[in-house]
Subunit: 190 residues, 2 copies
DNA sequence: ACAGCCATGTAACTCGTTACATGATTAC
DNA sequence: GTAATCATGTAACGAGTTACATGGCTGT
């Protein structure tokens, strides 16, 4: 990895850097890999992926080689690098957004997979599993609520807020659907 | 691949073979790799993955080496193999279902990712993209409806039917949410 | 002094994909 | 006869992960 063309994840990370275009232009420094990792954790995690730390650094290296990001290197006892998107990076990102094909979302849902195989475990085990899932969903939703709250109504964060609200709707609907499934399992003449 | 321990996808495929336990015990042959691929396309695709054909054969080879499936080899001009789950395979699958940790679902949502970066393209482009997505969602839903209909109310297919209904609810809710987002974009004082 | 966070990177490995290669059988 | 579908497999590659390695800075 790190060779060749950017992937969707590369563009996703580049996109996270694009939110600092203005503040960086006004003289503020960019983000360290560490900080970018945290931003990815707070946003991308809910509807894309949360790349491993090591991958963040690899991707930043690739984007830099391609001229899509630039780094402020601060040599000290320990060298730290702050990355910002370049004008080339912004155009590349815009080009990708407008021309690349948009794939249909992919869901990897271990809970649904286990429900499919319910005939091997029986309704009690399945109910237990779904109840566990409800607990996890509640927690996830609380995490996303906190993220959403941190965005406030800052108009510059309008799109991120929409995405967060989308996610919150999704978790609410999923909880509702799982609740229906649990009731259906109870009343099933198994 | 094909070495070492089964992955979640291995168990998913093994699980698909588990639906034929009874008919196979009654003397019917198992499934070819080709047929298993189709079954995966009709079920797993909607909430797990649709493995490449080449991977199906690789996984079957691994499961066989592990003794979790057995093959009826029919040598002819062309050798064909029909696979069925073994008793060991059934216990391994049950063991996995009851003891392996259940991960939280992962969503890879390119549409949400693009919405996040709407500040780079503007509300018109974002609306166009979301409308495209609505069309794709409609189509996907129609495909899953057909799968659901093919399950009928056969009690042996009760769990697969629940999973399909779950998916249909998800598509319905997603369409609703995207509709709301489209209206929000229209009325936004961007 | 010690914990916890900030910060960076390499190496080995796994999962899964695409590309390639082959050929039989069935329906028109 | 020819197109579509049935059927099987290998090789090369890519994207991302975990494990490993290192060390500074900050608060208690």
């Amino acid at each position: 990895m790190g060779q060749g063309a950017p992937t969707t994840t590369s563009y996703a990370l580049l996109g996270l850097l694009s939110f600092d275009r203005d503040t960086v232009a006004a003289g503020e420094p960019g983000l360290t890999g560490y900080e970018l990792k945290q931003r990815a954790y707070n946003t991308l995690r809910f509807y894309w992926v949360s790349p491993a730390t090591s991958q963040i650094y690899t991707e930043l290296g690739r984007l830099q080689r391609l001229g899509l990001v630039a780094a402020d290197v601060r040599a000290g006892r320990r060298t730290t690098r702050r990355y910002r998107i370049t004008p080339d990076g912004t155009s590349a990102l815009r080009g990708w957004l407008t021309t690349a094909e948009i794939e249909f979302p992919v869901l990897k849902h271990p809970v649904a997979l286990r429900l499919l195989l319910g005939h091997l475990t029986g309704p009690d085990e399945v109910s237990r599993m779904l109840s566990d899932y409800v607990g996890q969903l509640d927690q996830r939703r609380a995490e996303l609520r906190a993220v959403r709250a941190s965005l406030g109504d800052d108009p510059r964060m309008g799109y991120p807020a929409m995405v967060a609200d989308w996610g919150l709707d999704y978790y609410r609907d999923e909880l509702r659907t799982v609740g229906r499934l649990l009731r259906r399992l109870e009343s099933a003449p198994e």
